[in-house]
Amino acid sequence: MNLFEILKQFKNIEPDADFSATSRRAILATEPASLPMTARRTIFRIIETGVAVALTGFFVLLITGAFSGSTIEPTPYEAMNPQSLHAEAQAIDMQIQLANLNYTESESSGESTAPTAAGGTATTTTVGGILPVAPLASSTPAAATLGTGTATASSTATTTVSLDQALQALSE
């Protein structure tokens, strides 16, 4: 038998049938591994995600735009109408005690009084309508609790005016 004939005999060698069956079963019982994340695949994945997010946003805008009509203006809200707001403000019965009005009137007399916590008044001399605190505090102990800012010219009577009247008076 020459060399090539002997080499041909090698082809008759077969693996054991039991081994083949066991090996086959063991291999096919597993799942093939997924592809490793290469740089190219990573970049592609990022681009893919970005495009998906952009398209989602675009379609959301498209859908919401279709519901709100051709313009992107916000829906007019009745409560935000300036005219209705003004009317509503007029309807409110505002009772404001504007003691400052009387206070400005009292400037001419050069005196101002401040109510104390006990209900009394402290009379001081003012220059230019500014209340000096120190003399006030020394005049009566109760005056130290001053803070309401209510001032009267000669009496503690208050005047009730409407909002428009008050604004007009202030502008004068």
Partner: protein, 198 residues
């Protein structure tokens, strides 16, 4: 487990599978039945390739199993480039054999062992004279350099055409043609006058 030997006079041939491309594509998509078909077709070839190189049946079985485990685990990365699927399997098998010898070097020196001791049980169904001749030739092949081993096994045992051998070992056809003459010459030299020169 014993290695079954078929003593038919006409050796079986293993051409490429019909519709191999589709089967491979199915396997790449993770279809285990498709990979099973590839396993059935190519496993004997890979087994012989490994057995001739390592000599020992148990080692050949372990390495063959590992080749197909590795192939299945990496099947998703396989790209069909016109080469037969066997080329890819042979490349994995070559790497596994190298790894086997690298690992074995730390355990024991295979050089000191008689290679006949390992391969003879695998050839138990041959006549004694044929068995001895097979073992002599196998031992001589094992002494060739790895590239010549691959060419002798693929070209003269498996009867693969030059083109497929070239693809399997990543050489040109011309280089394989030249190398096969050198390999046979080297093999004859190693065998001395033990075989007929017909």
């Amino acid at each position: 487990m014993k290695c079954a030997l078929v003593t038919t006079t006409t050796p079986t041939t293993f051409p490429m599978l019909d519709g191999e491309k589709n089967i491979v594509n199915d396997a790449v998509r993770g279809k285990s039945s498709a990979f099973g078909v590839l396993y059935d077709h190519y496993q004997p070839m890979i087994y012989r390739f490994v057995l001739v190189k390592v000599g020992r049946r148990e080692d050949a079985e372990d390495i063959t199993h590992q080749v197909f485990v590795s192939a299945w685990q990496n099947i998703r990365g396989y790209k069909h480039q016109g080469h037969p699927f066997s080329s890819w399997l042979y490349q994995i098998a070559r790497n596994q054999v190298v790894d086997h010898y690298r690992a074995a070097k730390h355990e024991t020196s295979l050089e000191k062992m008689d290679p006949e001791y390992f391969v003879l049980p695998a050839t138990a169904h041959f006549d004694l004279s044929v068995k001895l001749q097979i073992e002599e030739v196998r031992a001589a092949i094992a002494k060739l350099k790895p590239e010549y081993q691959d060419i002798v096994i693929l070209r003269f045992i498996e009867d693969l055409p030059l083109k497929e051998v070239a693809e399997a070992i990543d050489k040109t056809e011309g280089a394989v043609k030249l190398a096969q003459h050198r390999a046979i010459k080297e093999l004859r030299k190693l065998l001395g006058g033990k075989l007929s020169q017909e």
